[in-house]
């Protein structure tokens, strides 16, 4: 089948390479992710920004899967709502994703598998027999494996990408697998690169700005940033149990921690994992565990223990859709309540949620520092979309971010009080091996205890120590920087968000401001304790909407909205929620804000 191109009524379309959004749709076995990954890495190495989004089927045997990539000249915030280019490998890919293509966009489809709607005039259609050409290039033995590399060659040519650097990456990937794998891979790539794309050239003008010099960039997904951030933070022990989308964090740490003299154990379950981490933390090693929602539920008893015994420990939750097994390969922010409250008794703890891959790295370093300073558990709430998206970001300065933790082993006492009721609430813990000069040694304990660590369940002691454990978090609250507003400090509408929705929320603010709305946003990074000043900011706006990827709940408010309403008793706080398992699109927020503002102004509408 030859290539087909249908001209729309418009003239020459433009695609800016500096802002292009490419969506590749196929099945999970097609290696779409590795193409996406290599393209992202290339853009990163070319000092362009890149941000990606991908979906995987939750079953191993495969199913539809996509990779979306946004390449940009400046710092990108979200993966982009609409694609400029859609690549469809199958009829179902075409059917399910054509609506993601912008009007006038370019559809490249595998002509061996896809027949586009002949009446569809909104897009430019270019068919390329990718399957048959790949088989031809490879020599007909490998079925259509390699189609992904053929496509990468085609895109390299189309966008005039640095082909030598892409070839380098193919070699990096396949060299270890031997020439039998590497040669066909390169053949498939070259075949794609050699394919005549002049037809596309007649339709589109690819605009490419000169690349400015920038800070060196690194390119990785959120789970990589989390694992390497943990290493930089000084974590040297971890334990976990596999679960999507957390597993790759533990897999990386299993491999990398030994290089730092540390270890990461696969435990028999999530309870054992956190117990091991608390044991290592007691022993004076910075320790972590992690999971996704189902596993965090299991860890809750020992989170309470760590609060009571004042043991610092990092607990990661890479959120997915719940409840229960829920949506294992989708995103949701429905574990906030769990992170804030998992555990019995009064259990103040630190909860931090990162908003980008870069922020994952820096925030995990911060979380670890805080937990050891305040001797309590820190819960780190990442999510599926951060875990799987690849982002380029300025390389961190390790001189600032890298920490080596050395526990205080100096002799203590006499009359040392490991749970001393200080004004800040912070006391100094003791680890095994430390000499107590008066010969009196502490036992760490889940029972209520006195300042020396001896069990004491009297009312007086319980009130005093409950207040001590709470006061630490109040001390931290005083030290956290006050919140800052994106956009003007006063106005009509304030959007509040947390976690990975920061990018789309800020892009929505930009767009709505362009349209004339008086709108700003506020990002809540520290969910426990909350930063100071949120109430003051809310006072300066007429409407407040908390944008969250979770349900609006029995009473009409999502999880952060409920918390803010409880803390600030402010009836202005309303919610914009969704539970489709996908990241917020800018247009979704924009239209929700418009209709909510309308509703509030004219409640009868």
């Amino acid at each position: 089948m030859a290539q087909t191109a249908m001209q729309t009524s418009h003239g020459l379309e433009k695609i800016h390479l500096e802002e292009v959004v490419i969506r590749i749709a196929g099945n999970s076995q097609d290696g779409i992710q590795s193409v996406g990954d290599m393209l992202s890495r290339l853009s990163g190495r070319s000092k362009r920004g890149v941000i990606t989004f991908q979906t995987f089927p939750s079953t191993i045997s495969g199913g539809p899967s996509i990779f979306q990539l946004r390449v940009g000249g400046h710092r990108l915030k979200s993966v982009g709502d609409e694609a400029d280019v859609l690549v469809a490998f199958y009829q179902h890919s075409y059917r399910d994703h054509i609506k993601a293509l912008r009007k006038g966009g370019l559809l490249i489809y595998d002509a061996d598998h896809v027949t586009p709607d002949p009446d569809e005039k909104r897009f430019h259609h270019v068919g390329v027999p990718m399957t048959s050409l790949t088989i031809e290039a490879i020599g007909g033995t490998a079925k259509d494996k390699g189609k992904n590399l053929f496509l990468m060659g085609l895109l390299a040519k189309l966008f005039d990408l640095e082909s030598d650097k892409l070839e380098e990456q193919i070699k990096e990937r396949f060299d270890a697998k031997g020439p039998k794998v590497l040669a066909p891979a390169l053949n498939a790539y070259h075949a794609g690169y050699a394919y005549d794309i002049s037809k596309i050239g007649e339709l589109f003008q690819i605009e490419k700005d000169p690349i400015g010099r920038a800070h060196p960039q690194v390119c990785m997904d959120g789970n990589q940033a989390l694992a390497y951030g943990a290493i930089a933070a000084g974590i040297r022990f971890g334990a976990g149990y596999p679960i999507t989308p957390w597993s790759s964090v533990m897999e990386i740490l299993r491999r990398e921690l030994p290089k730092f003299g540390g270890t990461f154990l696969q435990a028999e379950d999530e309870i054992a994992s956190i117990a091991m981490a608390v044991g290592a933390a007691y022993g004076g090693t910075l320790a972590m565990t992690g999971s996704s929602g189902p596993g965090l539920s299991l860890k809750s008893e020992i989170i309470s223990y760590a609060v009571m015994a004042e043991v610092p420990i990092l607990v990661v939750d890479v959120m997915r859709g719940g409840p229960s097994t829920g949506l294992p390969t989708n995103v949701e922010q429905s574990d906030l309540n769990l992170a804030l409250y998992a555990g019995h008794g009064d259990t103040p703890r630190i909860v931090i949620a990162p908003f980008s891959v870069r922020d994952v790295f820096h925030s995990v370093v911060e979380a670890v520092q805080l937990m050891q300073e305040y001797n309590c558990p820190a819960i780190f709430l990442s999510d599926y979309s951060l875990a799987t998206r690849v982002e380029t970001w300025p390389e961190p300065n390790l001189k600032e971010s890298f920490h080596i933790y050395k526990p205080d082993m100096s002799p203590k006492g006499p009359n040392f009080l490991p749970y001393k009721d200080t004004p800040s609430g912070i006391s100094e813990r003791i680890i095994p091996g430390v000499l107590m000069l008066d010969g009196n040694y502490p036992t760490i304990s889940g029972l209520e205890h006195n300042e020396a660590g001896h069990p004491d369940g009297s009312s007086v002691m319980h009130m005093k120590m409950t207040a001590k454990r709470r006061r630490k978090l109040q001390t931290l609250r005083e030290k956290l920087p006050p919140v800052s507003v994106y956009g003007p400090e006063t106005g009509e509408v304030l959007l509040i968000g947390w976690g990975s929705t920061k990018g789309p929320i800020e892009e929505s603010v930009d767009q709505l401001r362009k349209e004339g709305m008086d709108i700003s946003s506020l990002h809540v990074k520290y969910l426990s304790p909350l930063q100071r000043g949120i109430d003051k900011v809310m006072d300066r706006f007429k409407h407040v909407f908390v944008v969250e990827m979770n349900d609006s709940g029995i009473y009409g408010y999502g999880q952060l909205a409920s918390l803010l309403r409880a803390v600030y008793a402010n009836a202005k706080i309303k919610g914009i929620n969704k539970t489709d398992g996908l990241p917020f699109k800018v247009r979704e927020i924009v239209s929700a804000v418009k209709s909510k503002v309308m509703q509030t102004v004219h409640p009868s509408v």
């Binding site: 981490a277 608390v278 004076g284 003791i430 091996g433 008066d438 010969g439 040694y441 889940g446």
Partner: protein
């Protein structure tokens, strides 16, 4: 350690070194006659005999009467949560190879709520000693059926007598992969101390099951294993490899099947070391991974090692 101490000047011996005098802390809250006292005494003696520095003794427990243990030992320790003491001790032992961690737990802790952890600590062969103070009942929560309660045992949760098949500690432990498994009786202090000492010497996961009578809720339960109560405390005979004909009949502690056969004898069975083998500990394996990783031409400083990892991601 002694260098460090001399810097501090004169610290009296009796503060540094563990003795039967300076190890007791609070007076135990156990009921009079409770078997657990004897285990505690054996632990004091053991640490004294070994010349342990107090600062290096680390005693971990779960929740239960038996698990009150660390409070009664004036040394470092942790009273953890019900059933998970072994996992806590795993994290501690792997990250602190300089300590020999002791874990004291009850039969509910070990075989019910913590059953999975017991199995997995055993198969990982984490270096530590676990003493199970088995009283065939839930003591702290006042007489419910435990996983080792014999059939017919009347408790608050089995008013008509226990019907669930009791777990056999020794069979369970040997099958799980524990590399040292011994059984003793709290009323036989010499034997108890001997077993704890051999367990401490073992390089790997060593477990001692101690029949420790709950005088409050299960009085007389282990009398059949005591001569002075009209029973018999039979110590199993270990092979001596002395070439004599009678040695052929003695128990080979490295023989798993023979250990299981001995364990299968009817109540009260015999006492001693049922099983002991050597295989790499989790601690050794992890240390080896770290050593290999650090010998593989990685950068000298940790920060440079991480920098190298970032360089690959550019």
């Amino acid at each position: 350690m002694s260098n460090e101490l001399s810097v501090l000047g004169q610290i009296p011996e009796d503060i540094l070194k563990a003795t039967r005098k300076n190890l007791p802390s609070d007076h135990p809250t156990w009921c009079p006659g409770c078997g657990d006292f004897s285990v505690l005494n054996a632990y004091f003696k053991l640490n004294e005999r070994r010349g342990m520095m107090k600062q290096n003794i680390t005693t971990i427990s779960g929740i239960g009467c038996s698990s009150r243990f660390p409070y009664f030992v004036n040394a470092h320790g942790a009273h953890f949560v019900h059933g998970r003491a072994l996992s806590f001790a795993t994290g501690l032992s792997i990250s602190r190879p300089d300590l020999h961690v002791f874990v004291f737990i009850g039969d509910g802790d070990a075989f019910s709520i913590g059953g999975n952890h017991l199995t997995h600590t055993a198969r990982k062969n984490v270096k530590m000693t676990c003493v199970i103070m088995d009283n065939h009942v839930y003591g702290l929560t006042k007489k419910q059926t435990s996983p080792t309660s014999p059939l017919g045992f009347k408790s608050k949760t089995d008013p008509w007598g226990a019907e669930d098949m009791p777990i056999h500690p020794i069979k369970q432990l040997v099958s799980a992969g524990a590399t040292f498994v011994a059984r003793t009786h709290a009323a036989m202090p010499e034997h108890l101390l001997q077993m704890m000492e051999r367990a401490m010497d073992h390089n790997g996961f060593s477990v001692v099951e101690v029949l420790s009578e709950c005088t409050e809720f299960n009085r007389g339960s282990f009398d059949t294993a005591l001569a002075r109560k009209g029973g018999q405390f039979r110590i199993l005979e270990e092979k001596k490899n002395d070439g004599t004909p009678e040695d052929g009949k003695r128990h080979d502690v490295t023989d798993e099947i023979s250990a299981l056969r001995l364990a299968n004898e009817p109540w009260p069975g015999c006492f001693g070391v049922f099983y002991q083998i050597q295989r790499p500990t989790k601690n050794e394996n992890e240390a080896k991974h770290a050593e290999n990783a650090m010998n593989k031409g990685v950068a000298a400083s940790e920060i440079d090692r991480l920098q190298e990892m970032f360089n690959v991601m550019k």
